[in-house]
Amino acid sequence: MVLGRAFEDMCAQMYYRGKMFGFVHLYNGQEAVSTGFIKLLKKEDSAVSTYRDHVHALSKGVPAREVMSELFGKTTGCCRGQGGSMHMFSKEHNLLGGFAFIGEGIPVATGAAFSSKYRREVLGEADCDHVTLAFFGDGTCNNGQFYECLNLAALWKLPIIFVVENNLWAIGMSHMRATSDPQIWKKGPAFGMPGVHVDGMDVLKVREVAKEAIERARRGEGPTLVECETYRFRGHSLADPDELRDPAEKAHYAARDPITALKKYMIENNLAKEAELKTIEKKIDEVVEDAVEFADESPQPPRSQLLDNVFADPKGFGIGPDGRYRCEDPKFTEGTAHV
């Protein structure tokens, strides 16, 4: 959680210094959900996220260096600089992205869950009990794709957990004003799966609920819908002036900061001392600084990368008028492009 918070704060600094660009959406305040769920996963389990995916990537195990490089658009990033802030993918850590479009990731997660169930039941790989987590927000719960996937997952009893990060706001649209029944967890039983509501600002409570949901999925009992009530401390994105939200509401949730709450809990229950926590924070700061340095020093991607990976065949642009593969013609990307 502390890594997530420190990382996001550093992102904001880098953005305002012009090192990072594009549309960047920060996760401050919602760390408990990411940590509570993803830390219970094995490396082979998959996670699918939204555009607010930096911390999901970090929790899943993608090194901070790679995430920071990706944000800077460098070739050492987790997607070689092709995706940017909103599209974090990692085959090694089974992070199926980062989707800019809301709700687009949910069907993808449903497919991933099906594949793990198939491997177990049809192909007979008895130890394949991989689950998939799909993270998305309250706004997405009014989108058609969400409902279609709830139905599919419940119908086929897929090992997937739908995690709603209900932070009450979809840019400037309040959840209360956009949804006929704002209690999202109730939509689970309508499709035949359990729906659970949990306080998303308390990492221990989230972890408890997550544990049960993941165990359920691993046993083959099907999907769960978990609604985490949480809040984002910053605006929707770094370009959002965040004028619409009531300061009283912000203050209310700021008082329930998951990191402060956990710190207090740990100290009160003698699980750790202040000094130890300070050392952890210091270490995290070093990790983040190192990530920034690494990203800074990393090279920019070469121009030829522009044509890579459009198709499976990297030469998939056919033959040009001069008889050579188009993508090998330096003029195809260089031209007289003025950078």
Binding site: F21, G22, G81, Q82, I102, L244, V310, G335
Partner: protein
């Protein structure tokens, strides 16, 4: 402003449905004299929306985040002025937003639906292609959704990446039954948007994300009429939307080298003004088209094919298309992907020296 509204008002009183506007007088289609305040595209759109909502009590504006003004501030002040029943936010469901707009329009209202970024229009593609475009045709003119206007900001912004920069106009140009309109500047945007809203056909209006003086009155600009914004004799250069400012720079560069370019703004993509482009190509004998969308299957292909059909013997060089590359819209590589001024200039020279 008052006299323009009165003329519009009297015409409106004669009509039953709020979507009929057959007898708007030609004079309304002239651009008023310059003398407005300097505004950017979003405030021009804002002015147009104010006028549209003012002049027709049965017009409604909706979409994601429109009540506070929208992510581009095109809709500021509208909810306060016209009330939350006419200007309202919708949940995040593009397919629902457009489908709902079709229903509103079918019942005789003017529905102005906002899609937050053109990249998000794809869930609504089904409704637009299968429902909006065919409504009048398949009901034998009993119903129509002409009152529907869908507005979406489109095009590259410099850092948008895959999903905040696309130019999807080509997909919609393949659909008979709707119109696709793209303004190049704030002044054009206001006039064209008002025409689109009052046009008795469903229209998809793409707004380039760019400052100019905009007159304050109510004025409309005719649809399906291209405009020659720069006269020339050596080559015809055709484009639309934000790309035109790049093309103007290229034309200025070409002029320094002694090439006289005729620059045409298509404005409406379907139905497009073939006559103006044809007349220009008959004069110059050469054609170059430029757009941000990928080159394969882009709208430039349609223009090229139609002009070749009409002007084959007159053409002195192949039709050139300087467009985006055939890759998903890149993030870091945006400057290499875009059809830049230099690429266009090179192509102008190559075509003229063919």
């Amino acid at each position: 402003m008052a006299s323009a509204l009165r003329r519009l008002g009297s015409a409106a009183a004669r009509r039953g449905l709020s979507t009929a506007c057959e007898d708007t007088k030609k004079s309304l289609f002239q651009l008023p004299q310059a003398g407005g305040k300097s505004s950017n595209l979003c405030s021009a759109i804002n002015q147009a929306l104010h006028i549209a909502l003012e002049s027709d009590p049965r017009s409604y504006l909706f979409g994601e985040d429109v009540s506070f003004g929208g992510v581009f501030r095109c809709t500021t002040g509208l909810a306060d002025r016209y009330g939350k029943s006419r200007v309202f936010n919708t949940p995040l469901c593009e397919q629902g937003i457009v489908g709902f707009g079709i229903g509103l329009a079918a019942m005789g209202n003017r529905a102005i639906a906002e899609i937050q970024f053109a990249d998000y229009i794809f869930p609504a593609f089904d409704q637009i292609v299968n429902e909006a475009s065919k409504f009048r045709y398949r009901s034998g003119n009993q119903f129509n959704c002409g009152g529907l206007t869908i507005r979406a900001p489109y095009g590259a912004v410099g850092h948008g990446g895959h999903y905040h920069s696309q130019s999807p106009e080509a997909f919609f140009c393949h659909v008979p039954g709707i119109k696709v309109v793209i303004p190049r500047s704030p002044r054009q945007a206001k006039g064209l948007l008002l025409s689109c809203i009052r046009d008795p056909n469903p229209v998809v209006f793409f707004e380039p994300k760019a400052i100019e003086e905009v007159p304050e009155e109510d004025y409309m600009l005719p649809l399906s009429e291209a405009e020659v914004i720069r006269e020339g004799s050596d080559i015809t250069v055709v484009g639309w939307g934000a790309q035109l400012s790049i093309m103007e720079q290229a034309c200025a560069g070409a002029e320094k080298e002694g090439i006289s370019c005729e620059l045409i703004d298509l404005k409406t993509l379907i139905p497009w003004d073939k006559e103006t482009v044809e007349a220009s190509v008959r004069k110059t004998g050469r054609l170059l088209i430029s757009h941000e969308a990928p080159v394969t299957g882009g709208f430039g292909a349609e223009i090229s094919a139609s002009i070749v059909e009409r002007c084959f013997l007159r053409l002195e060089a192949p039709v050139a298309r300087i467009c985006g590359l055939d890759t998903p819209f890149p993030l870091v590589f945006e400057p290499f992907y875009m059809p830049t001024k230099n690429k266009i200039l090179d192509a102008i020279k190559a075509t003229v020296n063919y």
